[in-house]
């Protein structure tokens, strides 16, 4: 079980993903945009942040670049439908600035949960080594 910060502006998608993660026994914190996520990160220390890229107020790209250095222990997963542009462009960019893995929407449920498990596994190995 891990604490996951889910950042997604679309309420339907956010609620669905939250339920999916909760069903996989994760504790889910929610934010509707980058600004809200920054506020959540002031009081909480999630293991993983799953963030959408195209969002109002503060985009996922800005959010990743701002939190990457402040929260080096937190793994980041980027998801995007790409808006009017090809999502691979945004997703490549998100990985280059600090996301561990990225997915194009619609994200395959099994792939997302597996990625979370692998990242958590990697974190625990790093922690036990140190």
């Amino acid at each position: 079980m891990a604490t996951i910060l889910l950042v997604e502006d679309d309420e339907l998608v956010r609620d669905m993903l939250a339920q999916m993660l909760q069903r996989a026994s994760h504790h889910v914190l929610q934010a509707t945009n980058g600004d809200e996520a920054i506020d959540v990160l002031k009081i909480a220390h999630p293991d993983i942040m799953v963030t959408d890229i195209i969002m109002p107020k503060k985009s996922g790209i800005t959010l990743i670049s701002e939190v990457r250095n402040k929260h080096p222990d937190m793994e980041i997963i980027a998801i995007s439908g790409g808006g009017r542009l090809d999502p691979t462009g945004y997703l490549d960019l998100s990985e280059s600035i600090g996301a561990a893995v990225s997915f194009e929407k619609p994200v395959d449920k099994a792939a997302l949960l597996m990625a979370i498990d692998l990242l958590l596994q990697g974190k625990s190995e790093t922690t036990s080594q140190s």
Partner: protein
């Protein structure tokens, strides 16, 4: 008659006319003098004529002859000059008239071309706007479908696998995934210009590989002939996209012929100054390849033709066509700096005309011999 002797005869004819015009006053004068002599001879030999009149006439004769000669000469000269002026004036008027006629025809042609260009430009802008709009809608719709799929998957996990609810939720998933497929097509239409490798290609290779691909799916009762294709026709483009263009048009042709008929593909090279290019907007001053794909199908009416490249416009039955095929083809042709037009008549088949720019370096024999470098597209 020897055709070369024709100009010589014409020149001789003109020379004769010129000389006659200048000699006529003299001829008239001579004729006047001769006539006077004849009258004079008649008068002196006629015994019934009063002797006194003859005497006075005799004394006045030199003057009469002189005056008559001068009068005839003058009148003849003036008349001829007037005829000459009239002729010249008529020729000038005819020339002006012809010039006006030519100008009117030219203006009408220019107006027609302008009108065609405006329509094509408007059509292009409309397609671009629809593409942008469709891309935006598709993105939001993608999110909605993603939510539906996610919820349905979770709901399915909560019910027994052999239950009717599980089965029905499976149908919802199936329908949603079909929707997702459609969305990905729309998004692909909006994003078509991204991530495409443009490189020099042999037009012949493209058509050959397309027809090898299509052959198993085309009924034997449909014949396909390619006319005018040569090995040295080179273009710059994305092979996959160009395959999509040919496959789409040929499949539409096969559908329009109800599985029976002839498809002719006529390829030709169009030089930069060819007036044929005037009907295409955004055309550069370069050589192009023209590819006419003609079918003997049922054709289409004017209204259908005007909307044929619009996204989501289809004449096929519900579920058989997305209405994105030809709009994508249109977009691909624009991305390739080419063009596409359609001509059709109900009951008389349809012709799609594709225009692709010639690869400029094709004229460089060294490069032609040693292969080509990859170039990036727009």
């Amino acid at each position: 008659m020897d055709p070369q002797s024709q100009p010589k005869l014409t020149k001789l004819n003109q020379e004769l006319k010129y000389r006659l015009r200048h000699w006529l006053p003299g001829i008239f004068a001579l004729a006047g003098i001769l006539l006077s002599i004849i009258i004079w001879s008649f008068l002196i030999q006629n015994e019934y004529v009063h002797q006194r009149f003859v005497t006075s006439l005799k004394s006045a004769l030199p003057w009469i002859v002189l005056v008559a000669g001068i009068a005839i000469a003058l009148l003849g000269g003036i008349g001829i000059r007037l005829l000459q002026l009239m002729h010249e004036r008529s020729a000038t008027l005819a020339r002006i008239d012809q010039n006006y006629k030519n100008e009117i025809v030219e203006r009408m042609r220019a107006e027609d071309t302008k009108q065609k260009l405006e329509i094509a430009l408007l059509q292009g802008q409309k397609l671009q706007a629809i593409g942008t709009l469709a891309g935006g809608i598709a993105h939001d719709f993608n999110n909605i479908l993603y939510a539906i799929i996610g919820y349905v998957e979770m709901a399915r996990d909560d019910v027994a696998e052999d239950s009717l609810i599980h089965k029905n939720l499976g149908k919802v998933l199936e329908a949603s995934k079909r929707g997702q497929d459609l969305v990905s097509r729309i998004l692909a239409f909006g994003r078509r210009h991204i991530h495409h490798e443009y490189q020099p290609l042999h037009l012949k290779t493209i058509t050959e590989s397309v027809f090898a691909l299509l052959k198993p799916t085309i009924p034997a009762s449909v014949s396909i002939d390619i006319i005018g294709m040569t090995d040295d026709y080179l273009i710059v483009g994305d092979q996959t996209q160009l395959h999509q263009v040919f496959v789409n048009i040929v499949n539409n042709a096969v559908d329009a012929m109800d599985g029976e008929g002839d498809i002719k593909i006529i390829v030709s090279r169009i030089l930069a100054n060819d007036p044929f290019l005037n009907q295409f907007p955004d055309i550069d001053n370069k050589n192009y390849y023209r590819i006419d794909i003609m079918d003997t199908g049922h054709g289409m009416d004017q209204h259908t033709m005007e909307r044929i490249f619009e996204p989501f416009f289809t004449t096929k039955e519900v579920g058989k066509g997305t209405g994105l095929g030809l709009s994508t083809v249109h977009a691909i042709m624009q991305d390739h700096q080419g063009g596409i037009t359609v001509t059709s008549q109900l009951g008389h088949g349809t012709t799609f005309t594709l225009l692709l720019p010639e690869y400029q370096s094709a004229l460089n024999p060294e490069e032609k011999e040693h292969g080509y470098h990859t170039v990036s597209g727009r």
